[in-house]
Symmetry: C2
Subunit: 258 residues, 2 copies
């Protein structure tokens, strides 16, 4: 029975997509079956996985509106080793779906799309866009837990309380709590006192939920997407790869193995 | 007659808010009358300007829905010296406004709000959220031109074509072109070959529109928001301050002075 994790934070540029791709690749390299779903119309998780979003015949949007089965939309990524449900600009059409007031709020589109595909994967990750709009709400309603990447800087810290509040509200409407899988410190620069201060605040505030693994700022992580590769395939021995492999091991331990 | 500039890029974390705050402060320090409008429900431009978003009696949302005049919502920031129309979580309610299909598409709310306030300022800047949703469309429809901050990395480059396409479509529906005020390279690290490569591509592709001023990666720019100050007031002689003052001078020259 796979577990579904939303990778979400409405603050932009905190490492959501980088974490979605590289955690998926690291778990796949450990032998787990992983599905990554790109729920951002920017399609960064798609191109970062080496898939040309302009050429995909079907995207996650087609599955969300019931035009195609998820299994038909999904492609296998190589050498990364995980499956991907790609996104392209069609996904921007999701907000138009919102305009039919007579229908139920379409927050459940992704949850309904995932029914039946859970047995094929150990883990399903969903890369959310930088907003608390309909696409992100779909990610949160479909998830069993939420992994929150946070850059150790002021604005990223400030936005966390909004996200926690939204998660609480979703839990209330679902009738069960939407747990925090963990808070992940990203782009960490130990030479910066700002980074250290914010990190301390995160450890205090999220004591049980914060991952021990910290992702350092590492230029290889920014270079890898231009080759369409996870950092594990682009530069296997760099600090970025090591950190995401360590995260995969900690993630498995916390979630009770695969 | 003030000119209205949207500071927009749907890619997250590229320096939109940092540019909105520090360009406003730099122009104010040169004696220009500046209004900064926060159109992001995250409210980063509000807190980065030293205003507590939880305490403001009125926000830009109240002006957009016609409950208050823009001049009543606006506060003066000190020591920064510009006026600010603050944002808070209420702005997330904008997407609910979308759900009334019988009304005209509410893309014009900001444009209508700004009518009449143009004589009081030399420049009006609008900080957009990281998305191409209703808030950003309001920014683009209200603007005379668009300033696009770009981090010199792969995903930020990839998203530019989507933004240019959206701007073209808006120009068609407005009946006149929505010009690009300029492309601004942010968080620039000259030691990184990725940064240099992307910068070269930007210079080639946006030859006339790219600003000569480049904003370097500078930790003071990330520290200043935690003190609620523009970098010019937090660390006046740092590279970040020098860069934004140089940008203000180049910006004025291009836009034909104040
Ligand atoms: N640890 C890191 N070290 C260096 N660069 C990084 C790191 N993590 C991410 N990056 C780079 O920083 C930028 C932002 O990361 P990314 O796009 O993954 O964030 P995001 O939260 O998904 O952004 P968005 O809000 O737009 O979806 C990208 O250019 C990425 O390559
Ligand atoms: N030149 C710079 N050097 C160092 N840090 C910077 C620089 N510019 C911005 N930052 C920091 O990088 C982070 C992202 O910048 P900022 O929040 O301004 O981007 P944004 O595009 O407004 O993000 P969002 O998409 O969430 O609105 C912030 O923590 C900011 O303090
Ligand atoms: Mg992303
Ligand atoms: Mg911003």
């Amino acid at each position: 029975m796979s577990r579904i994790f939303a990778i979400a934070n409405q603050k932009g540029g905190v490492g959501k997509t980088t974490t979605a791709i590289n955690l998926s690749a690291a778990l796949a390299s450990l032998g787990d079956r992983v599905l990554l779903i790109d729920m951002d119309a920017q399609g960064n998780a798609t191109t970062g996985s080496g898939i040309n979003k302009a050429l995909v015949p079907l995207s996650i949007y087609d599955a969300l509106i019931g035009e195609a089965q998820l299994s038909r939309v999904t492609v296998h990524t190589a050498p990364a080793g995980y499956d991907l449900a790609p996104a392209n600009g069609d996904l921007a059409g999701l907000s138009v779906v919102e305009a039919r007031p007579e229908a139920a709020p379409p927050y459940h589109l992704l949850r309904d799309t995932l029914v039946g595909s859970e047995d094929r994967y150990d883990w399903i990750f969903v890369d959310a866009p930088p907003a608390l709009g309909l696409a992100t709400l779909n990610c949160l309603f479909a998830a069993h837990a939420v992994l929150v990447p946070v850059q150790c800087e002021y604005y990223a810290l400030e936005g966390l309380s909004d996200l926690m509040q939204t998660m609480r509200k979703i839990g209330e409407s679902l009738g069960h709590q939407l747990p925090l899988a963990g808070v992940l410190r990203t782009m960490y620069d130990s030479r910066s006192s700002l980074c250290n201060d914010v990190s301390e605040q995160l450890c205090e505030h999220f004591a049980d939920a914060i991952y021990q693994t910290v992702i350092p700022r590492n230029i290889r992580l920014a270079e890898a997407p231009s080759y369409g590769l996870p950092v594990l395939n682009y530069s296997p021995s760099c600090k970025g790869s090591q950190a995401y492999i360590a995260l995969a091991e900690e993630f498995r331990e916390r979630a009770g193995g695969s």
